[in-house]
């Protein structure tokens, strides 16, 4: 049987949205898939060596469960984002959910191929020295080279 392939486009750079690409990529790799993730726009944040800057925001996010119901206007107050982020992190730890660093490390170990979108790296003036090792740079055509042969393609 030929190896199955999974191609993911990761476009979001918040703490919550950082999870799906790394959870699916690491699990697919464990199931024997060959996996590639193409990081573009805000998704490039997920490639930084240090992920401690990633935040989750209750603002414009009415589905996010909060301990106390809060009017939207309150969400703009200074410190709300930091509070929501530390709440989310401590809850994840308490529930045995892996940290993003850990999941990404598992992806690296499983030889998940990671490609940073050259155009958005230039656009946002990212320093590729801030990215983890083993990242490749490429464009849309490079993504399709792999995605075109993939069994599953996800845009996250």
């Amino acid at each position: 049987m030929d190896e199955k392939k999974l191609a993911i486009v990761a476009t979001k750079g918040t703490l919550d949205w950082g999870y799906p690409p790394f959870i699916l990529a690491s699990t697919a790799a464990a199931l024997g898939y060959s996996v590639e993730i193409f990081f573009t726009f805000y998704g490039l944040q997920l490639l930084k060596k240090d992920l401690s800057h990633l935040r989750v925001s209750p603002l414009g996010n009415p589905a996010m469960p909060m301990p106390v119901p809060m009017p939207t206007l309150m969400m703009v107050l200074p410190g709300m984002e930091g509070m929501a982020t530390s709440m989310m992190k401590s809850k994840m730890k308490a529930k045995g959910v892996a940290s993003l660093d850990e999941l990404r490390e598992l992806c690296v170990e499983a030889e998940v191929r990671m490609i940073a979108c050259q155009m958005t790296v230039d656009l946002f003036e990212f320093d590729t020295a801030d990215f983890i090792d083993g990242i490749e740079l490429g464009g849309a055509a490079a993504f399709f080279e792999f995605a075109g042969e993939s069994d599953i393609t996800l845009f996250i």
Partner: protein
């Protein structure tokens, strides 16, 4: 009763860690050896069935007792 060669304690871990740790632990076994996994994630039952089916490592037995799920997977 299935006899295990190695035990993986995945209690307290949530998706997808039990599966990822299992994959790693199976990598250290030789063909025919059995890994026993203890987990507390209720999603683990479906996940281990799916893992076994897709990786062709037979799920020999699984049981639940006192909120803990026990799986015996044989390395193919």
């Amino acid at each position: 009763m299935v006899q295990e060669d190695q035990v993986l304690d995945a209690r307290g871990l949530n998706c997808p860690l039990p599966i990822l740790r299992t994959k790693k632990a199976l990598g250290e076994l030789t063909s025919g050896q059995v890994l026993k996994i203890v987990a507390t994630d209720p999603g683990a039952v479906k996940d281990f069935e799916a893992f076994s089916k897709q990786t062709k490592n037979p799920l020999l037995e699984h049981a639940e007792a006192a909120g803990e799920f026990v799986f015996f997977i044989q390395k193919a």
